[in-house]
């Protein structure tokens, strides 16, 4: 079964090809075909996973050679797939969550004129994502890495008639490519300094002796730059909120559950480099912490339901990087899996709301939706509770463990700020739920909302179950199922005995989570606070948060505008006048010398060419005679 692991990416790829060329003729079957392809991939992935589990813990890494890709001199990169605990976890998340989102999209995208094309892109995305997580070679990983970026571009701009969608797509591709280019240089340095791009070779602990730690710092930071772009961390986070222009299943699959977690996967996969460096780990921790807080604050200021979730995703990814930065890799991975479930759930719920309200996304115009959309409301509340970290739910075991580790290892500041981030998470998600589903309807659309069809609700229910119950895999950071499974690849979760006891930390976290939710209920749903008036009184703070603290505007002024000016200057002044002006001057000189200014217009080229050839031959003859 393990040898057949290539089927996992291959099946969705076949789905892509079929739907690309025959999607229109297939009609609604295109969606079922695509869903089936991912489900089949999931089945193979489960088979591979079972086989891996059946083997002794130390023998669970297999490399499957497909073909030699590039080879020049000492350099080679092969298309090899790596099956180990980490990649198995990733392919399971990608294919299972992916299949559910495909299923949902059959209902959500029904009636779109480019239905088949949509599923072609979606399958292509799954293919590239699987290549990314299965790659044994860093350059092959990069193929998947850029490939998912391409699909993200295609799907954000899926409704390309809209200028906003086209702009957002381009912004996403270009912003992430800035990070990717650092990463590409990093990959090149891995080969030049460590002698190979194969993970089995460069992730051997003995590699530490090959180069001084400074080299590992450079490599780790360059790779991390790629992760910053792909996982939308500060300062390259600006593309993700705009990416919400894409259809909502895309937001769920690509911009919440899978692609944006690729950066976390990359850091966790290559954590050896970060550990040897030391400094790089601190950078990861700090970037994660700053992003977690920044994005959670910004999420509080959003009125668009999808933008709340987008900033929330950025923030949650920050938490994952915090975990990685504290060497708690399996905690980061568990949070990745749990987040994939509850955030996909929340996005799909938002999509369900939009589906039932004629594309309403403005939270201030919703209200009371739980009466007309009870299923959607129920699963969204489950997702929100999990995200807020209420005791016993999947989100709790993820986020809480990160805070416990921060406290235990004596990082009091990280714990404090992380707890603040947790509070903010409870606030923004509580605000979303209470504004959307509670109180009275505040618009016609909300009043006449209707529940979504079963094909959309079924995946929601499955994801809700996961968002609530996935914690059973992570009951204890040492003996839980996920950490023990990942331990041979990722090592044990670090522990210390500083700070207060775990019980006290849990009480604090529950006060924060439930308290935060209670506050939002009081403000937005109890009817005792006029939250619109409150917002006006707090201006300009809400606007500051709404604009993501004006980071986009700063970039526009400091990066985009000067770049445009430089480009214009080089093209219109330097190239047109200086460089070309020189050439034209020489040309005029020749024309003047020839004294045939007007004749030049017609016969010059031919005359000169002939004269030139004759001259050349004459010279030849001369040299020939003399020689």
């Amino acid at each position: 079964m393990t040898d057949a692991v290539w089927l996992v990416p291959a099946i969705p790829f076949v789905g892509f090809v079929v739907n690309l060329f025959a999607g229109r003729r297939l009609g609604r079957a295109a969606g079922w075909l695509a869903t089936l392809a991912v489900a089949a991939a999931a089945a193979v992935a489960i088979g591979v996973g079972m086989e891996v589990l059946a083997q002794p813990a130390e023998e669970r890494t297999t490399v499957v050679h497909l073909f030699d890709w590039i080879g020049v001199g000492a350099f080679s990169a092969a298309a090899d797939l790596r099956v180990d605990q980490l990649s198995v976890l990733m392919i399971l998340v990608v294919t299972i969550v992916g299949a559910l989102i495909h299923l949902y999209a059959i209902g959500y995208m029904g009636g779109d004129p480019r239905f088949g094309r949509f599923f072609a892109y979606l399958n292509l995305f799954v293919f590239f994502m699987l290549v990314l997580v299965l790659a044994e070679n860093l350059l092959l990983l990069y193929v998947g890495w850029e490939g998912v970026g391409l699909c993200s571009y295609l799907l954000i701009g899926f409704w390309h008639e809209r200028t906003a969608a086209a702009n957002a797509a381009k912004k996403a591709f270009v912003t992430t490519r800035i990070g990717d280019t650092f990463m590409l240089v990093g990959i090149a340095l891995v080969f030049l300094r460590l002698g190979s791009l194969d993970l089995s070779t460069v992730l051997d602990p003995g590699i530490e002796a090959v180069q001084p730690s400074g080299v590992f710092t450079v490599i780790a930071l360059l790779l991390f730059a790629g992760a910053i772009g792909k996982s939308a961390q500060v300062p390259l986070h600006v593309w993700l909120p705009d990416a919400m222009e894409g259809p909502t299943p895309v937001s769920a699959l690509i911009h919440a559950a899978t692609m944006v977690t690729a950066g976390v996967y990359l850091v966790v996969r290559t954590h050896l480099f970060f550990e040897i460096s030391g400094v790089a780990l601190v950078v990861v921790l700090v970037v994660g912490l700053v992003t977690a807080l920044y994005a959670a604050l910004s999420a509080l200021g959003q009125d668009d339901i999808k933008r709340v979730l987008a900033y929330s995703t950025v923030s949650q990814l920050g938490f994952m990087f915090m975990a990685a930065g504290m060497r708690a890799y399996s905690v980061a991975m568990f949070m990745l899996a749990a987040h994939a479930c509850y955030k996909a759930l929340l996005f799909l719920s938002a999509g369900s709301v939009m589906h039932g309200t004629h594309e309403l996304t403005d939270l201030t115009r919703m209200g009371g939706l739980r009466r007309r959309m009870p299923w959607t409301a129920g699963v969204a509340i489950a997702g929100a509770l999990s995200l807020a970290g209420v005791f016993g739910l999947a989100g709790f075991f993820a986020k809480d463990e990160i805070l416990v580790i921060a406290s235990e290892t004596g990082r009091a500041t990280v714990w404090l700020l992380g707890t603040l981030g947790a509070l903010l998470s409870a606030l923004y998600i509580g605000r979303l739920v209470f504004l959307a589903f509670f109180g009275d309807a505040r618009s016609q659309e909300a009043e006449h909302a209707h529940e979504s069809p079963p094909v959309m609700l079924a995946p929601l229910v499955v994801l809700a179950a996961a968002a609530l119950g996935l914690g059973v895999l992570m009951l204890d950071p040492e003996t839980g199922l996920v950490p023990t499974f990942l331990e041979p690849v990722l090592g044990t979760v670090p522990h210390g005995d500083e700070g207060v006891g775990t019980a006290a930390l849990v009480i604090v976290s529950q006060v924060v989570a439930i308290g935060g939710l209670a506050v939002t209920w009081l403000v937005y749903a109890s009817g005792r606070v006029d939250w619109l008036a409150l917002r006006l009184r707090l201006m300009p703070l809400p606007r500051f948060l709404n604009r993501g603290m004006y980071v986009d505007d700063v970039y526009a002024a400091t990066v985009v505008a000067p770049a445009k000016a430089t480009s214009t200057f080089l093209a219109d002044v330097v190239d047109a006048s200086v460089v070309d002006g020189l050439v034209n001057a020489v040309g005029r000189l020749f024309q003047g010398l020839a004294g045939a200014g007007r004749r030049v217009q017609t016969g010059m080229v031919r005359t000169y060419a002939l004269a030139f050839l004759l001259g050349a031959l004459a010279l030849l003859a001369y040299v020939g005679v003399r020689g």
Partner: protein
């Protein structure tokens, strides 16, 4: 049969003979004759590929005959891992360019004959191993190219041809003088005076002489590449040339410059090559960044692609002068890939123009809604040009960056910025052309016709195939490029002490 190279080189002329000897030939017949000749030439070059032996590092299938004994001019053809792919690129694209010119209906016979003469000139240029013979082929290309731009070109074609002509003549003059000078010096060789490149390599030149000669050759080829600041003829020539002219110009003619640098500058003047390497690399880097930045604000689609060529060819020259196996092989690979991607871009620009009658991006929009296959194909090719991994150009660019980083970290890092710029200008042009609302006048264009699909499909297939399985090319390129690098005798490329690297990057 042992003269595969001669047959490949001159087979197009058979088509010319037919065109000339068939009085009153109808236009359709003329097109068919040209297409037939070009396809036959392609098949012949495939036969050449079949005879090619990967294991041999030097020249293969050599054909040698005395031509003009008085001046030691030899008819000398040979192929190695570099010229092999240049020839195949030429013979592969020529039938496509001819098929893409099906709608040329002014003086069809002359047009088709020019294309075929052009093809013979280009193949001969890549195969000639006698310097003077090379020069003759090199010059023979120019005349049909003038005609193609000057007769079938756009409104400002006269300006463009004169400029193209002046630039090229400027370069050719240097090339001729240097060639003759080298010949004059070659009397000291054991075999007596010669233009034979294989023998000239052994010529012992005073360093200062070698440097002057290097510069003369360099100027001639740098104009062709074109290397900054000698590039300004290219945007004008591209803008005014008809589609087939732009395709051949970008895909093959520019490669002659890079090919000349590798074949002649590096192998004839290794010491001078080493001493000029840094300066040339800097010019190449300027080209990469400058071409990319200038492309950003172009509104004429053809000018935009022209500037992107300046940027992409910078990678080739950078690779050639990094003197590492990876960079050199990557540079040659990039020559092929740029030919495919940019050739395809110009084909598509032509198809867009036939529908919209404009190249002004400001007056386009929404093509993806009206002609999704045309729009999608454009995006595919643009992504290939932007170096998306999995497609062809990525492999060459990565190898150049890798090989350059090995020699100079900063050169490699700066080159990498070209990858970001390419994404911006290509996606921005795609957006203005294909996305957004559809302007009223563009609502009723038809999507790709069968002929257009036939024109594009082979190129798209090659773009994908060489991205997924570049070994097909690399296995044949590598022995030759490794030898070229070894012959330049570059200083060892072992990594510099690594601690300074970390400090540099940290600072």
């Amino acid at each position: 049969m042992s003269n595969w190279l001669t047959l490949t080189t001159f087979l197009p002329l058979a088509g010319v003979v037919v065109l000339v000897a068939w009085p009153g030939i109808r236009d359709d017949a003329a097109r068919a004759v040209a297409l037939l000749a070009a396809v036959a030439t392609f098949l012949m070059s495939l036969a050449m590929l079949g005879r090619f032996d990967n294991g041999v590092t030097g020249f293969q299938l050599v054909e040698e005959a005395t031509w003009v004994d008085a001046i030691d001019l030899k008819y000398l053809l040979g192929v190695d891992g570099i010229s092999l792919w240049m020839v195949l690129l030429t013979t592969f694209l020529m039938p496509i360019a001819i098929l893409a010119s099906w709608r040329v209906d002014d003086r069809v016979r002359l047009f088709m004959a020019s294309m075929l003469v052009l093809e013979t000139g280009m193949i001969g240029t890549f195969l000639a191993l006698d310097l003077l013979l090379f020069f003759l082929f090199f010059e023979a290309i120019l005349f049909p190219m003038y005609l193609i731009i000057g007769v079938w070109g756009g409104e400002r074609r006269v300006y463009a041809t004169v400029k193209f002509f002046l630039y090229t003549m400027f370069g050719s003059a240097f090339l001729l003088v240097a060639t003759l000078f080298l010949y004059a010096k070659s009397g000291s060789l054991p075999g007596g005076p010669t233009f034979d490149v294989r023998e000239l390599v052994g010529l012992d030149l005073a360093p200062i002489t070698a440097r002057w000669l290097f510069v003369a050759f360099f100027v001639a080829f740098a104009v062709k590449v074109p290397l900054f600041p000698l590039h300004t003829w290219l945007p004008d020539a591209h803008t005014e040339a008809p589609t087939a002219g732009s395709v051949i110009l970008a895909a093959v003619l520019l490669k002659i410059g890079a090919y000349g640098l590798i074949r002649f500058n590096l192998s004839l003047f290794p010491e001078a090559s080493r001493s000029f390497a840094d300066a040339i690399s800097v010019l190449a880097l300027i080209g990469i960044v400058y071409g990319g930045i200038v492309a950003l604000i172009q509104t004429d689609l053809k000018r935009l692609v022209a500037y992107s060529s300046v940027s992409h060819l910078g990678f080739v020259v950078l690779g050639a002068f990094a003197f590492t196996e990876q960079a050199m092989a990557g540079g040659v690979l990039q020559m092929v890939n740029h030919g495919l991607s940019t050739g395809a871009l110009f084909l598509l620009v032509g198809m867009v123009y036939e529908r919209t009658h404009t190249r002004d991006l400001g007056r386009m929009g929404g093509l993806m809604s009206v002609t999704p296959w045309l729009g999608g194909t454009f995006l595919f090719v643009a992504l290939s040009s932007a170096g998306l991994p999995g497609l062809n150009s990525f492999v060459g660019e990565f190898l150049v960056i890798l090989g350059t980083l090995a020699r100079n970290v900063w050169f490699g890092a700066i080159a990498a910025t070209g990858v970001v710029l390419a994404a911006i200008y290509l996606l921005w042009s795609y957006q203005r052309m294909a996305q957004g609302p559809v302007p009223e006048e563009h609502r009723h264009h038809r999507d790709l016709s069968l002929r257009e699909v036939l024109v594009l499909a082979p190129v798209l297939a090659a773009i994908l195939a060489f991205g997924v399985y570049p070994k097909l090319l690399l296995d044949r390129i590598e022995p030759t490029t490794a030898q070229v690098v070894a012959d330049v005798e570059a200083p060892p490329v072992s990594p510099p002490p690594s601690v300074p690297l970390a400090e540099e990057a940290g600072g």
